[in-house]
Subunit: 402 residues, 2 copies
């Protein structure tokens, strides 16, 4: 058997950025440099948009120190896009790839991005255009099928946990009700990470609402009242995607709202938090009710990375290139956890269709019976991914006799 012929490689990033998506990019590039069968290393700017517009950069021209600096920087260094390729797009993509002698295609992203790779791979087979098509996993939502967890979740979860630690301390100093609205339309993993920073018995979040369980306003108000009675305060973490039992998003109730210009307001950055805060004010005697919507901070904050997440994100990039160079034609690199007490993972090639399109939700065992908190099983699962969190100090507080 002769050595495989030298071909060029193209890599791109797609979907929402994460704090460690560039680790995967750099992991792939560094591995590619070691592989004799890989010639040029192209980066496409803004995902497949860059291929379609032939907007490519030469990643061999990047210095090792520049690559390391980019790896440590949040958000897609190559730019990103949300675009599903049509059959026509694929034809154009193959033309460009052929022009640049690209035999290896790597795409970093979530389930939609994997769907893109899957489409390109199937069209390539149909068109008899032989390229290696690989998906490299990324998503803060942690909702990729076939994976124990996903690169990007650990760092976003770390931000959410540290934010909740702070909000909890703030709320303890100046008691009231506080609502944190966290990303996650269908999967509650990131919202659930809010629980990871709890240290003391009375630490919040005291209530956690996830898209996996139908949200009931009367039950919510009852929960809040009970916690407030017990602690004199109440911290709530809620997924942006919570919906009622008929599947209608709670945030959508804001669609009836009209702003000062008479425009119907479909949604707003604080809409869900404001709605819940107003309901509490209207239905209880609690007056100090606040909400914060974490927004983009949770996926791109500079300086809050889980070391385990960074390491694994680099590994999936590297393993994807290695696997392709071993002759495997297509696939996604999944993270599997090894059984046992110590935290250890394997990186396994799975078929594209095992990750593409459909996402996964949180397993039932991670959600408590009442549907308003996570279980210890979730804490055990997520803690090693998010990494060791800072431990807030607290005064012993020996009371002085009156």
């Amino acid at each position: 058997m002769s050595a495989p012929k030298k071909q060029n490689m193209l890599i791109a990033q797609s979907g929402g950025p994460s704090m460690v998506i560039n680790q995967s990019l750099v992991g792939a590039v560094i591995e590619a440099k070691k592989q004799a069968q890989i010639g040029k290393i192209f980066g496409s700017l803004h995902g497949i948009k860059g291929i379609l517009e032939e907007d490519l950069i030469d990643l061999r021209k990047e210095s090792a120190s520049s690559l390391e600096a980019v790896a440590a920087t949040p958000s897609s260094g190559l730019g990103t896009v949300r675009q599903k390729p049509t059959a026509e797009d694929c034809t154009r993509i193959f033309e460009i790839l052929r022009d640049h002698n690209v035999g290896y295609f790597f795409y970093i992203g979530g389930n939609d991005s994997c769907e893109t790779v899957h489409i390109i791979n199937q069209e390539a087979i149909k068109a008899k255009h032989p390229i290696h098509c690989f998906h490299i996993p990324k998503t803060i939502d942690n909702d990729l099928r076939s994976n124990d967890h996903t690169p990007g979740f650990g760092s976003a979860g770390r931000f959410v946990a540290q934010a909740l630690q702070g909000v909890n301390l703030d709320n303890r100093a100046l008691p009231g009700v506080h609502i944190s609205v966290i990303m996650g339309r269908h999967a509650g993993f990131l919202t659930a990470a809010a629980a990871l920073g709890r240290v003391y018995e009375d630490d919040g979040p005291h209530l956690i609402y996830l898209p996996e369980r139908p949200f009931s306003m009367p039950r919510f108000i009852k929960d809040v009242k009970a916690v407030y009675k017990k602690y004199g305060r109440c911290l709530i973490a809620v997924s942006e995607g919570i919906a009622d039992s008929r599947g209608q998003a709670i945030a959508a109730k804001f669609s009836k709202e009209v702003d000062s210009h008479g425009n119907v307001q479909l949604s707003g950055t604080g809409a869900l938090g404001d709605l819940l805060a107003n309901e509490i004010k209207a239905r209880t005697t609690i007056s100090r009710v606040r909400s914060d919507t974490f927004g983009y901070l949770q996926r791109s904050f500079m300086g809050c990375v889980s070391p385990v997440d960074a390491k694994e994100a680099r590994a999936v990039g590297s393993v994807a290139v290695k696997t392709a160079c071993q002759g495997v034609k297509s696939g996604s690199i999944a993270i599997k956890r090894k059984p046992g007490k110590a935290y250890k993972v394997n990186f396994v090639r799975v078929p594209l269709k095992a990750v593409a399109r459909d996402a996964r939700e949180m397993p039932a065992k991670y959600i408590n019976k009442a549907g308003n908190d996570v279980t210890q099983s979730f804490i055990d699962y997520a803690a090693p991914i998010v990494g060791k969190l800072p431990k807030p100090g607290r005064l012993k507080g020996v009371k002085v006799k009156r």
Copy 2:
């Protein structure tokens, strides 16, 4: 002259929490332990509320390691309150202080908290109740008079700068308009800190709007269009307190809004950001417009402290106790910057009335002529307080020939 007689000390925290307010508490307690004339060290829970309700703890019962852990933890460890004492309250306060033989009173907070100390001090003089009354400065708004800057600002500014670095990277990867709404009703310092993380020529925030300059919607839209034309994206940092030329808060325009229950909505967490985003969508052809309101995260996030800020916060606590023990009857400890290139500060006792009640705004030299950005003079001023920021990496991006 005989040695001063031994008296007890009481310390409390007031107003909005900060990330380093416990450094000041611990600085004061550690210094007090060194002073022979100080007997017991009481902490009052939730500011003067704890005195009025005689809810005190014994701070000599806290271990050195517990104190250090608390110092490194954001948000008021003793709890906080927003309460201005009446003459009646003062009478009650003096009773409690007399019962507990308190001769030294320290109160950590902003201008309103200093006003509280000022009132107590004046009432104490009237009542011939001799106590040492000291204010220890704290505020993320950086708006205390007589100070070069204020403990708490450096760390909150650091959070804001790192958040903007991340949002800028996110926005560069997926271009559009992004608005960050930052705390500050009357002083723009914290919003201005958004500029500190800029590294590359095209880095945002590209536009910064502060409460110190009247906000004009037509000029705002013109600014956004110009930046968007130049960079294909636009990052905006805006103070929650921006107002029009008649002083009407822009956020107040939302007071006409009615929610789905027919309630008039006075304000919401995302109200100002949503309003500005909607104006941009309505008056330009830009479709991708997002906003984030930083909320409590900027004052209590766990794990984002400026080392200089922490050090200075500890020092003002310690200097306050030292000054009182030297026989000075009252005052606030102000931070003054020494002239010269290298960053150095002095801690100086100033009269309570020089800090109490009225706050300060940003000096004109820190705001550009157009009123939509900060000047280099502000960067030079604020950079050492916020501390060295992470430097985002960027690909050189050598284009591939088509």
